[in-house]
């Protein structure tokens, strides 16, 4: 007979609403990081429930693997993508959101009303019984005897996942990366010796030496290769002509 002690009941009624609220909050908050943190909380709550129900190993695994590893990967990727990046929440098909919310509420209501009326119809065995030989030992026994075939097959699943990640993310270098020696040779054997001593620095000396102003060549024209290609592509390049001496307002105002 499985009895539920008072402390466990108190803990359940304290943590369960919190878990449900954060699970719903996960869907409603706008920022992905907040959503991920709420998910972490849901997982920790679940782990506490598992441990309270004598499934010690499962609880620890839940914390170590899910909250520890998987959630950190989530956050890591969110940081890579950019914490401030937000999804576009415009509806591509009009009226889809009210329909979805109505359907979700209806489905949830149906489930709650059905499960509310359900009884197990028999006594639960309880984990004290299942754990009589030790929790981890009992799990190991099941994994390596009754469920050995699905357990082994999961390894194929993991290989598939690894292979898939390689297919989708591995860039094949089409030409080998030039070594430093090759780069030096190319600089000297190139069309002009101009690049042999390195690229010109940006900026017009004494006037404006920021990275977004191209240097001036002796004939007064701008040197395009003095500016980073990224700045050029972004359009963040200033005209260097405005810093030419003839253009500068050189009337001196006396400062007191």
């Amino acid at each position: 007979m499985l009895t539920i002690q008072t402390p466990e009941a108190v803990m359940f009624w304290f943590l369960a609403p919190l878990a449900v609220i954060s699970a719903i909050g996960m869907l409603l908050v706008k920022k992905a990081v907040h959503s991920a943190l709420l998910l972490a909380w849901v997982m920790i709550t679940l782990a506490i429930f598992y441990i309270a129900q004598d499934a010690l190993f499962l609880g620890i695994v839940q914390i170590v693997v899910y909250t520890g590893a998987v959630m950190m990967l989530f956050l890591f990727i969110l940081m890579l993508v950019g914490v401030d990046a937000s999804d576009s929440l415009t509806e591509t098909i009009r009226g889809l959101r009210p329909i979805a919310i109505t359907a979700a509420l209806g489905f949830g209501g149906l489930l709650v009303s059905l499960i509310g009326r359900a009884t197990l119809g028999r006594e639960a065995a309880g984990l004290v019984d299942a754990n009589s030989e030790g929790n981890v030992q009992a799990l190991a026994k099941l994994l390596f005897s009754t469920y050995v075939w699905p357990f082994e097959v999961v390894s194929a699943l993991l290989i598939t996942a690894a292979l898939g990640a390689m297919v989708l993310a591995h860039h094949q270098r089409s030409v080998p990366r030039a070594t430093q020696r090759e780069q030096a040779i190319a600089r000297f054997r190139g069309a002009s010796l101009g690049s042999a001593a390195g690229l010109p620095n940006p900026g017009v000396f004494a006037r404006h030496n920021a990275v977004d102003v191209p240097a001036l060549l002796p004939d007064g024209s701008a040197a395009p290769n003095s500016i980073s290609a990224t700045l050029k592509a972004r359009g963040d390049m200033l005209e260097s002509t405005q810093f030419e001496l003839s253009e500068v307002d050189n009337t001196v105002t006396e400062e007191k």
Binding site: W149, V167, S174
Partner: protein
């Protein structure tokens, strides 16, 4: 604590183990093999392991046991037939996949980038599709023979994961292909969650995850029916998603259109066999005695699926989308065999799966041939007059369409006839009427395509039929031959299925 070592029947598991072994060798070739010979060696390994698996299956064809792998795998006549069908279809599809014109040169390259252009110039190849295909085949082999819910779930994931990936590897219109892969993945993960939810309820209901245990609980009448009902409903959602039954079909037109055509053919044919195999087993073995709980819902889904698939297919302007909606309609016809819940229903379903799978691979094989300078032409308008320019290819495609429509002298007719008569015998008159009506609607759009190909003037826009490679020719020839033979002379296969198809309990 005493531990008894598990006993596995390796002879009966051999087909799956061989395919998995082939996949692992493929992965090693990817890691260590020289790039120049990778394609040839992968093709060899893939074909060899599929053939070896088929031979291993033939060796144990007359065995049956509930204990092939500690109660996780049931080995019986129906399982052998379904596994054999999957292996044949996989082999024919691999011949289509071998024509690497369909696949991107480098999946990691951003579409339209200079890296993509360079990879195309270098003629790189995504030879990883071969081990991925083998992994998917192994999952498909396990799916219809798994006899507990945990193995069922693992098999489902194993067959789905490679398919999600391969759907995104199209060479042309890559953004659409990647979008379809993402859609397939997200919706597939969602439906897997439903399946797991159902597994949890059924365990709560019966205190067991094996089909036999669930069946015993249902006949024993212990437990609460609410849990049983929820369990059946959620598991059905997960399984019906895989076969693309309405209302869980939303992914299929997009994925069929976006995926590389060879993969679409493989996915359409082999996934359907595996998923229907699993549906047949779970409904015939585990849920048979709870018939009244699920039959009304399934009848409704079958009728809606047939009618929706047939009607919406009429409006399609793209040949791959049209075939997708036609496959939705066929899922409805196949559900009739599940609902029949009888020996004749089982026989008819297996025959139908074989005939439909073969014709589907062939039809998608023909679709890969119609191209212009930018790749495959799937717009139906540009197929007009194809029969005047390439009568042979157009006739073969027309023949497959007639088989889908169920015109006499094709395998489709025998399949439809036997599945509807099985449904009629068990009193599902509504299914029969809906089936015949939607077959008539479906025949309309198949024949419209045939009229378009043969009786319209060709458009001059560079659409042409390429000369197929030897392997593609083999696939198309074999599939059309089987479709013809099964239409004229189906008795040997029907008798064979009748004598050997049964589910072990």
């Amino acid at each position: 604590m005493t531990f008894t070592a598990p006993v596995l029947n390796y002879a009966q598991l051999a087909p799956m183990l061989i395919v998995l072994g082939g996949a692992l060798i493929g992965v090693l070739i990817e890691a260590f093999g020289p790039r120049a010979s990778r394609h040839a060696s992968q093709l060899f390994i893939t074909v060899a392991s599929l053939v070896a698996a088929f031979a291993a299956l033939v060796r144990v064809r007359n065995q049956s046991s509930v204990d092939a792998a500690m109660g996780s795998v049931g080995f019986d006549g129906a399982g052998v037939l379904l596994q054999g069908t999957i292996l044949i279809i996989a082999l024919l599809s691999v011949f289509l996949i071998a024509d690497q014109e369909n696949f991107t040169a480098l999946a990691a390259a951003v579409p339209g980038s200079s890296e993509e252009r360079e990879s195309l110039q270098l003629d790189l190849r995504v030879t990883e599709v071969y081990p991925l295909t083998l992994f998917a085949v192994a999952g498909m082999l396990l799916f219809p023979v798994s006899t507990d819910l945990i193995t069922l779930f693992v098999a489902l994931e194993m067959l789905s994961l490679p398919l999600y990936l391969m759907a995104g590897l199209s060479r042309r219109r890559r953004l659409m292909s990647q979008e379809s892969a993402l859609k397939y993945f997200l919706l597939g993960a969602f439906s897997s969650a439903f399946l797991l939810f159902g597994v949890a309820y059924l365990y709560g209901y019966s205190n067991s995850v094996t089909f036999a245990g669930i069946q015993a609980s249902i006949t024993g009448g212990s437990g609460n029916d609410v849990f049983l009902l929820l369990g059946i409903a959620f598991i059905s959602v997960g399984l019906l998603f895989k076969v693309g039954a309405v209302p869980f079909h939303a992914w299929s037109p997009d994925v069929y259109q976006g995926a590389p055509t060879a993969i679409t053919g493989f996915m359409a044919a082999a996934t359907k066999v595996a998923a229907f195999g699993a549906i047949l087993r779970i409904f015939y073995v585990a849920f048979a005695n709870a018939e009244w709980q699920w039959k009304p819902a399934l009848v409704l889904i079958a009728i809606v699926t047939m009618v929706f698939g047939s009607v919406v297919a009429i409006t399609q302007r793209d040949v791959k989308r049209m075939l997708a909606y036609s496959s939705i309609a066929h899922a409805g016809f196949l559900l009739a065999g599940v609902i029949a819940l009888s020996k004749s229903g089982l026989d008819a379903s297996i025959f139908y799966l074989f005939a439909y799978g073969i014709a589907t691979v062939g039809a998608f094989g023909v679709v890969t041939l119609v191209r212009d300078s930018a790749g495959e032409v799937t717009d139906l308008n540009r197929w007009s007059g194809l029969g005047k320019r390439s009568p042979l290819v157009a006739s073969v495609f027309a023949f497959f369409l007639l088989a889908f429509a169920g015109i006499p002298l094709t395998s489709g007719f025998i399949g439809k006839f036997s599945i509807f008569s099985a449904a009629y015998e068990t009193g599902s008159t509504a299914i029969l009427i809906a089936g015949v009506l939607s077959s008539a609607i479906a025949a309309f759009f198949y024949i419209r395509v045939i009229v378009l190909m043969f009786f319209k003037d060709p458009v001059e826009d560079g659409t042409s039929v390429v000369i197929p490679s030897a392997l593609t020719t083999t696939t198309i020839a074999v599939t059309s031959l089987i479709t013809l033979i099964l239409g004229i002379f189906p008795a040997p296969l029907i008798n064979f299925i009748e004598s050997s198809a049964f589910f072990i309990r």
